[in-house]
């Protein structure tokens, strides 16, 4: 790769691959739009860590509404529209991805307009996995009723200490039970070879994405959490396709070039932090800029690593898909979660943890059962909790967050007595 054009923004050094990323994401949405308009392929909705490989193998164009939720948050359309969902009985206390997405549908607004959509794409089938939360099912059932189409999925185990064979078997049976409905909608039979190919591509995507994230383990970190929340797009929406793998090979090359040249994402990196919890989508740029101005790299996160599926194995497609879905951080109990955070802290050489307590996402907020306190005691690293939300900015105070973050960094700076 050519020497990096050291173009920086106040939020840190810009990745050249981002231009390619825009093209990849545009092509993804164009394919869905085309499938919807010309009926060239059936369209399925899938939860972000759902069994997408089944859909790929059956020839669906796959749409991920959580990606839309993030776009609604980042564009701040969420706060204009979620009240419409609240008025329909979807509480402000539940997932603000759900309320912003349904609110946007009711209001006839979408950030997908730039890709030619006037509404979210209509699904022929909606496929969920409750390994992350129950809300995804309720979310999909709204649209299932709206469009009178089937809503199917996996009702998963949650809070697992260890993933045992009987857990995996139970999920495999549920995956098998989905196949007739999906085949019926797709009007084709599932081919074992195509499923293996989809799982192989998902695993390859997962490995490449993990390698990209891992470039932040070196000092200075080549990529930050804030970059990764954007760069993870293909890992979410194109898992199981060659396009995702192609993109991550490009990104990996750029990041490895940064590592070789000792170039960090943040100028003069002084401290390294771990982020647990959801991004605050509507404040992503402000937070990236604030951390960069304080010479802090947020080097790793639970969130971005949630699209790393080590268990996937094309030689055992359904069983490995089941295991991968159960081994996810969000589906685990407190003890394995803590072990994971401790391991990540060591691997990424962090100086402290930031926990985001997202008001409407208890499943991705690991602050509510004493984890920060236990982790601080176990690692002897300082911990900061930020109150906020993924999309509902009414739950976020800019000044509170700023003072909390600046005060935390001052604490890291003043490791000696005041």
């Amino acid at each position: 790769m050519a020497a990096e054009n050291r173009k920086t923004t106040s939020a840190g050094a810009r990745l050249q691959s981002s231009e390619r990323l825009k093209e990849v994401m545009a092509a993804h949405f164009a394919a869905i739009l085309e499938a919807q308009r010309a009926k060239t392929a059936p369209v399925a909705w899938c939860t972000s860590v759902g069994p997408v490989e089944l859909l790929r193998a059956l020839g669906f164009e796959v749409y991920f509404p959580e990606n839309h939720g993030a776009m609604l948050g980042a564009s701040r359309i969420a706060n204009e529209v979620m009240s419409q969902a609240h008025a329909r009985g979807y509480s402000p206390e539940i997932c603000s991805y759900l309320t912003s997405d349904i609110g946007a549908h009711l209001a006839g607004k979408t950030p997908l307009a730039k890709y030619g959509f006037t509404d979210v794409p209509k699904a022929d089938v909606l496929l969920f996995n409750t390994n992350q939360c129950r809300e995804v099912r309720d979310w999909f059932e709204f649209y299932g009723r709206e469009w009178n189409v089937p809503v199917v999925g996996v009702t998963s185990f949650r809070g697992l200490d260890e993933v045992a064979a009987h857990h995996v078997d139970a999920v495999v049976r549920q995956l098998e039970a989905l196949i007739p409905t999906l085949e019926s909608v797709a009007a084709t039979k599932l081919s074992a070879g195509r499923l293996e190919a989809a799982v192989r591509l998902s695993k390859e995507c997962s490995d490449l994405w993990r390698d990209c994230l891992h470039t932040a383990a070196t000092r200075p970190a080549a990529i930050t959490f804030f970059d990764s929340t954007i760069q993870m797009g293909p890992a979410v929406v194109l898992r199981g396709t060659a396009a995702a793998c192609d993109y991550y090979r490009v990104l990996k090359e750029e990041l490895e070039a940064r590592v070789a040249a000792h170039r960090g994402a943040v100028d003069a990196e002084a401290f390294r932090l771990y982020w647990d919890g959801m991004p605050v989508w509507g404040k992503l740029r402000e937070l990236a800029t604030l951390f960069a101005s304080l010479r802090v790299s947020v080097v790793a996160s639970t969130y971005c690593n949630s699209w790393v599926f080590d268990a996937l194995d094309p030689n055992a497609p359904l069983a490995s898909m089941a295991r991968a879905s159960l081994e996810l951080f969000i589906a685990r109990a407190e003890r394995p979660k803590q072990r994971y955070l401790e391991r990540m802290a060591q691997e990424f050489q962090v100086d402290g943890f930031v926990f985001h307590d997202a008001r409407t996402c208890p499943h991705n907020s690991n602050t509510r059962f004493g984890m920060p306190q236990r982790l601080a005691a176990a690692t002897r690293l300082p911990v900061l909790t930020l109150d906020g939300d993924l999309n509902d900015l009414r739950c976020y105070s800019e000044e509170q967050a700023r003072t909390n973050i600046e005060g935390f960094v001052e604490q890291l700076e003043d490791r000696g007595p005041l």
Binding site: A376, P382, V383, L384, T385, D387, C395, Y396, S397, E399, Q400, T403, N404, E406, G407, F408, E410, Q411, D414, R415, G416, P417, L418
Partner: protein
């Protein structure tokens, strides 16, 4: 006549309700402090506060070696040489009067903070209240309004309490409604004023574990001694209120300015 010994340092705490300023000298002696309403003009309030402390000590602005800012408005004070958060400022200010390990409980107009400091004076961590007025001065203002009292009369009124009443709501607005219901039931304003203070203390102590020596600061602490009494009773320990409790952020950031100046001077030595 000028008191103290040059160089002089000024700290300004641009708070949500009040702007505080503190002037110290080379020996960290406090020469003057001031507290005034912030209002909508942060720069104007800070400028007046600085003028007030300089005027009290007979000094002019050019005689000040460094002026640092803290508080929610710290980034708006463009004339400041540097800024630190109020977390740092309160910790540093308290350590001027007491040695760690200790816990600082700061209760201001819009926020409350708990800051843990170790035996070497290192800040170990902090908690701030959520985006909610419960447990802050704003809550007491709201309760005074409900009880038809001036905020300045709330403490004296509460001192006349006869019955302990528990206010159960988390939210300031809901608590206001709860208080109206209790008034309808014939509860006495003095008892409800006391209950308001109990509510503030309860909300603050929910934020973090507090053990060992406790030092309380902030405008609520300075002007509402019942909060200190109730904190002590709840924690079963003496709660120390240092001098300049309300101006502690301003004093702390002035001390930071002085420490930075000393460090720079030491670094410049051959």
């Amino acid at each position: 006549m000028t008191a103290g010994r040059a160089p002089y340092f000024v700290g300004v705490d641009s708070g949500s309700w009040n702007t505080k300023a503190a002037l110290i000298d080379a020996e960290a002696a406090v020469l003057a402090t001031t507290v005034s309403r912030t209002g909508a003009d942060l720069m104007g309030a800070a400028t007046k506060a600085v003028a007030a402390v300089l005027g009290a000590a007979g000094l002019a602005r050019p005689e000040v070696a460094a002026l640092w800012a803290t508080g929610f408005g710290r980034h708006a004070l463009t004339f400041a040489d540097h800024s630190r958060t109020e977390l740092d400022a309160h910790a540093r200010g308290v350590l001027h009067f007491a040695a760690g390990p200790l816990t600082v409980i700061d209760i201001g107009g819009q926020d409350a903070k708990i800051i843990q400091i170790d035996h070497e004076g290192r800040r170990l961590g902090h908690k701030m209240n959520r985006k909610c007025a419960a447990g802050t001065g704003s809550f007491l203002e709201e309760m005074a309004l409900r009880l038809d009292l001036e905020i300045g009369a709330l403490a004296a009124n509460a001192a006349q309490f006869q019955e302990e009443i528990e206010l159960g709501s988390f939210c300031t607005v809901f608590t206001g409604t709860e208080v109206l219901g209790l008034i309808r039931q014939g509860k006495r304003p003095a008892d409800l004023a006391r209950a308001s203070y109990r509510s503030v203390v309860k909300r603050v102590l929910e934020m973090d574990r507090v053990a060992g020596k406790v030092v309380a600061t902030g405008g609520v602490v300075a002007h509402h001694p019942m909060v200190v009494e109730l904190l002590g009773a709840a924690l079963q320990t003496e709660v120390v209120v240092p001098p300049y409790a309300q101006e502690m952020g301003a004093l702390g950031v002035a001390l930071s300015a002085r420490a930075a100046s000393l460090a720079a001077s030491a670094a410049a030595l051959p």
